[in-house]
Amino acid sequence: MSGRDPIPYAPEQPGAQPPNDYPAYKSTINRHPLRAPIRVPHTLTEVTGPSFTRRWHGKNLADLTLQHKGEPLGERIVIAGRVLDEDGRPVPDTLVELWQANAAGRYAHERDRHDAPLDRNFTGFGQVVTDKQGGWRFVSIKPGHYPWRNTHNAWRAQHLHFSIFGPAFATRIVTQMYFPGDPLLATDPIYHSIPDATARERLVAAYDPTLSEPEWALGFRWDIVLRGRAATPAEG
């Protein structure tokens, strides 16, 4: 190994990531690879990744309730947290994208046929770049539950979709955030695809009254943890 070799990102923690072969989520059946992936030692390709300035990603959209003429229907929420790496270091200047269904459980998507009303005052898309402490914050409305055709009479737990880049191609992650106390978490197969119970429960935000805005919106806290380096870079 040459001294100039990049320091790799740490391997996956056991049980923290879902398998792609997971028949309880029916769409995986025809889409999961049968062969084991080829393990690639990290090169410059994997330890680098896109950085987003305003020019590259467009403007911040931190408040999803202000994107239209009127106010969206639903329960107003504040969701905030930090993006950290597994060593607890903040991940600043990284793009966080959020998308979700409206309060009735319907996406502003042409292929969503759920018989629930669209809300002309709600698109359900936000994006922000993390601050120096890795912090981010969105204002939105609580998404509704929605049915899906996975099994007979199946309904998804309420969730927000999140996309986070991190500093490298190897740190990229797309995930979903859930709400505490949702009874559908007991059976939601996508949520349960994460094998380790502690890792799974990390996808559930915490109700946090310090984030609530008085007379206005209910607060939830959720931290996102990305892969860190396999070894700490030598100082100097």
Binding site: L44, P50, S51, V174, T198
Partner: protein
């Protein structure tokens, strides 16, 4: 004490209105230096049905072989007009296409050189975690032969799935772009080699 890393969850089927920025399918849009090329292909499932709800994210070095990232400290010319990142969605027939510049070669580990390549993360309904792969170029046979990542794949048929195929050049306005075809087969016969990174 390590913090537990956040688990991945599928993007689901309904994200286009949020994530699709059509301009991101042209990595040259700000005037990147280098040979402009087009990559196109299809994403197919285990029954060879088109995946109409999938997208690719691509990451590559600039024409000189340098990444737009602070950890790339090579003594090569940066290109401030090239971020090296794109995102492109499949259409109703499972097809995607993007325009970029041909990447230069970048170093591997030790003294190895990597053949020119584009790193790919693939997302879609039915993928609980995204899949990583790479696109190599068919007209770089010698460099591909020496590439340390391709060299990790023993089965020549599987290795060949990472090398794009020459395709009919694309006419874009007055320009004619060299075009390469890279199909992704998620499962079964001809399955694309996926990488654990």
């Amino acid at each position: 004490m390590k913090l537990p890393v956040t688990g991945s969850q599928t993007v689901g089927p309904f994200y286009h209105y949020a994530l699709d920025r059509p301009e991101w399918s042209d990595l040259t849009r700000h005037g990147a230096r280098g040979e402009k090329i087009r990559i196109e292909g299809r994403i197919l499932d285990g029954e060879r049905k088109p995946c109409i709800d999938a997208f690719l994210e691509v990451w590559q070095a600039n024409a000189a072989g340098r990444y737009a990232h602070p950890e790339d400290r090579q003594n090569k010319k940066p290109d401030p007009k090239f971020i090296g990142f794109g995102r492109v969605f499949t259409d109703a027939k499972g097809r995607y296409a993007f325009t970029t510049v041909r990447p230069g070669p970048v170093p591997g580990r030790g003294n190895a050189m990597q053949a020119p390549h584009i790193a790919v993360n693939l997302f879609g309904r039915g993928l609980l975690k995204h899949l990583a792969t790479r696109i190599y170029f068919p007209d770089c046979a010698e460099a591909n032969e020496a590439d340390p990542v391709l060299g990790l794949i023993d089965d020549p048929k599987q290795r060949a799935t990472l090398v794009a195929q020459p395709a009919k050049p694309t006419r874009l306005g007055r320009a004619i772009l060299p075009t390469f075809r890279f199909d992704v087969i998620l499962q079964g016969e001809g399955e694309t080699a996926f990488l654990e990174i």
